[in-house]
Structure formats: C-alpha cells, structure tokens
Symmetry: C2
Subunit: 203 residues, 2 copies
C-alpha cells in the first residue's frame, strides 16, 4: 500500500468505501485522505470521482468471465450447477465487496449499470439458463421447468444468503467453514426439494 503506487492505493480504498456507502455516500476528500493521497490525484488518475468508481466496478465485475469456463466444461448439467454454486460462494469470499456493488447497482443504478453491470449479469444468467435447458433436453431435469425462472431461483438462493448476512449474522453463522455444508445443502434443496416424500402429481 505504501509502495508509491498511489493509483492502486486509491482503487483499494475506493473499493472499500464505495461498497460500504455507495457512490454518493463518499466524498473524494475522505477517500483521498483514507488512501493517504492528495485529493487531486483522483482527477489525475481517473478523471474524477465517477471515473474512479467505474474503474472499481470494472475490476469487481471482471470475475464474472469465469462463467464462460463453466459453460465450456465437458460435464453433465448437474455438475455444472454444482460448479456454479461453488464458484458463486467462492466469489463472495474472494470479492467480499462485489455483492454490494451488484445489488447497489440493481437497486440504485448509476450510469455504469448498462455498460458494466448489466452485461456481466446477463451473460452469467444466460449461461445458467442454457445449463438448465441442456438438463431438460437430456431428460435429467423435469421438463415442466421454466429455464429462466429456474436459473433465477438458483442464483437467488445463493446470492441472497450473502446479501442478507447483515440482517442474519446474529443468528446464522456465515463463516467460510460452513461453505461445503452450504453447497451440499443448497444442491440438495435445489435438486430434490424439501418434502420428505414425493408428491403424487407433477406441477
């Protein structure tokens, strides 16, 4: 951090602060002070506060490219779904601020939603939808499923776990030590449901 790389220092500090309080909740004064850098450096490196914010967004959302790797994998749809869940959870561990930008942009979009956030989310979701469709085609998944809704249900289940953590941390342990258990549990609910015995009729 004190390695003279002021640009990197600004990105790092901004990533923390913007995640906590949003684009409008942080002033470049506070930000530059926290980064140990002069306020004018933000204009110098990023052409202003919004430029810094967009650089943070781009860095954060670049990890969504990994979905392409899952798509290209030579494996069965169910295994791809497990890999998606595993990757989603690990993504929240590796990028602890990403979900904040994610949902902050979904609820209070900035001008960068359309050029950075939306394309990343849309591509990831379409890959997930295609995995569901493949499973239906291969008769491994029930053919009554609506692929779009099903993919959203899957994504929602995993993401909401982390999204709600601020409200649940008093009574739910969200530490990484439970991640493997969580993966098995969510795979189990998503594939087999919660009922102790199969219902008589479909849908």
């Amino acid at each position: 951090m004190d390695k003279k790389d002021f640009r990197a220092s600004l990105i790092l500090t901004a990533t923390h602060l913007f995640a906590e309080r949003g684009l409008n909740g942080v002033s470049i004064r506070e930000l530059s002070t926290a980064a140990g850098v002069s306020i004018s450096m933000i204009s110098y490196y990023f052409e202003g506060k919004e430029g810094l914010y967009s650089s943070v967004l781009e860095e954060q959302f670049s990890c969504f490219e990994y979905m392409q790797t899952i798509k290209d994998r030579e494996s069965e749809p169910l295994d791809k779904i497990e890999e998606y869940i595993r990757w989603s959870i690990q993504r929240n561990r590796d990028y602890p601020h990403l979900l904040r930008y994610y949902t902050s942009e979904l609820t209070n979009p900035t001008r960068y939603f359309g050029i950075i956030v939306q394309p990343a989310l849309e591509k990831a979701l379409h890959i997930l939808i295609d995995i569901i469709k493949e499973g239906i085609t291969k008769k491994q998944f029930r053919d009554e499923l609506n692929p779009e809704d099903t993919a959203l249900a899957m994504a929602g289940m995993v993401n909401y776990y982390f999204l709600s953590s601020l409200a649940t941390q008093k009574f739910i342990n969200i530490l990484p030590e439970r991640d493997e258990e969580l993966i098995r549990h969510y795979m189990d609910i998503f594939t087999r449901g919660i009922l102790s015995q199969a219902l008589p009729a479909p849908l």
Copy 2:
C-alpha cells in the same frame, strides 16, 4: 396530491425518489420541487431530510407485520409456505419500492437499518424458520434440512426474482400476469427439486 396535504405529498414523492437513487442521491431541493412544496416544509414536518427518509422507511416496512398473520394461521407448514410466497410476490406488487429500500439498506445501511429494517427482516425470517421447523417435526419435510438455510433459500428465491428485474427485463416477463404461474413454479422447485427422478441417497 393537490389536496393541500403537503406532508403526504412529501412522503409520496420521497418514496419514489429515495427508492430510485437512495438517500444520498436525492437533494431536498429536487424533492421539494417535485412535490410542489417549499424546501422548508421538509424541516417543518420531518426535522430534515433524514427524518423524511426514516418516515418513508417506517411506512414501507410496516407491511412486514403481515407475517404474524401467516404464523398464527391454523394450517399445515406447506400451506404456510405457499402463503408466504404468495404474500411475498403480492408485497412486491403492492409496494413496488419496498425491495429497493430493503436491499439498499442491506448493502449500504443508513443509521435506520438497525431500528427499522433489521427488526422487520429478522422477525419475518424467524417466522419462516419456525414454519420449516414445524414441517420437520411433523415429518412432512426432510429431517436433514437446516431450517435457517432452508428459510433463506426460500426467501432468496422469491426476492431475487424482483431484485434482478432490472437486469432481466429484456428477456424475462416479470408482469403480474405471470404471478400465479410463478407461485406454482417456485413451490414446485422448492418442494420437489428439479430432478426428473429422485436421487438414490439423501444429502
């Protein structure tokens, strides 16, 4: 709106604007102009911008009290879960801005998170957890289920559908006309899973 009730007019306008751009994204100048009221009325009625915001929050989150009605209902756990899904979806229809405050506060909490948002979410979630527990006790749900994770999965599935709508509206129809289909579909996924046949072993 033009019925001289400036207080109500301010609440209504604020509900729209704060939902769209967050507490820090809206100025009281813009807000009072949009409401057709003088800027000083905000201090007069709400003791400032934050007071107005907290009034909006309280109004929005009051609808969570309905969860108590579901809890007190004399019906089976599975029916309560369906009622929860139905209420959740209808809640998003009746209070189209609520989810914005909900997730905005979860990701960028204001000082009102702890006193308004968190208690409402926590109570609703605990009721959902108790419904799952009751289902397990009555042997209607599988006893391997972790009630907390299961309740979160349920809540996440439904809420994420609306949360992600800004990113999905181009290819998913989120109009109310599909709500009944969605309810059946999510009940189906949650209770029976996605597999075309039961897996051999539990968990």
